[in-house]
Symmetry: C2
Subunit: 152 residues, 2 copies
């Protein structure tokens, strides 16, 4: 198995409801490399419906893009620095400065969603990530994220 | 008690995890008029933390803005049409076309958050809503939404 980006976060940063390995009640989204892009796959459970059952609620779509986006930002920054995932146990943690989501069509519940990230650019501690979320090969949402490396 | 916007949605549109009155597992956010603006108040439970415990995860911030935003869009459109909340049981349902969230600072968990909406403009079936989310009088996030009236 390849290593998920979120599994490289230091323990103290691993409690996110959307993607933290140490949050047993959360979604525990897992993001991976796929060539130059990043990918996560996730099937939403029925209770996370929008107004009309059968479709994912908007906040969940934003959540999947957000967690995949910050993990992707860390991975892109890591690779740009010539390092490998988890090579020193000190994977960088990025936080979202801004996220724009375009909802293209309703996102179905109960089928596997594919969330993808593409590097938009790196400038110092800032990473731009272009995101998409689709089902069955059809795009349901697009996202543009500006992520910033967290400093303690 | 004033009537919450979400309690005016027809039953078939009331299953949203973020704000549907008929989703017992969801957050059931409630939005109200406050003069010319709209307001919702919500205290996030500890499991919805971000990477570091004590702060709300990004997807939850987006979710609160999204659900308050679409409910506000419906209320603004209703008022612009010279109608009152729930006067005919056929409250309009709006969906999000796009939502941009700027994360200004970490959003604390366990304290009451205030989410506010301001009308940006109405054009046919489209309503623009400016949103904010704050804690203790301090802004934590800002949002800009384009909502569209749902057509069956």
């Amino acid at each position: 198995m390849p290593t998920a980006f979120q599994d490289c976060y230091p323990e103290k940063f691993s409690h996110c409801y959307g993607c933290g390995k140490s949050n047993p009640q959360g979604h525990r989204l897992k993001s991976y490399w796929d060539g130059e892009e990043t990918v996560a796959r996730f099937t939403v459970r029925p209770e996370f419906s929008g107004g009309v059952p059968g479709h994912v609620f908007g906040g969940m779509v934003a959540s999947l893009l957000d967690c995949h986006g910050t993990a992707s930002a860390a991975a892109f920054a890591y690779r740009a620095a010539g390092r490998d995932l988890g090579d020193d146990g000190e994977f960088m943690r990025f936080v979202t400065a801004s996220l724009k989501v375009d909802f293209l069509r309703p996102t179905p519940i109960g089928v596997e969603l594919e969330i993808r990230g593409r590097l938009g650019g790196i400038e110092g501690r800032k990473v731009k990530v272009s995101l998409s979320l689709g089902a069955g090969g059809q795009a349901c949402a697009r996202g543009e994220m500006l992520a910033v490396q967290f400093r303690e």
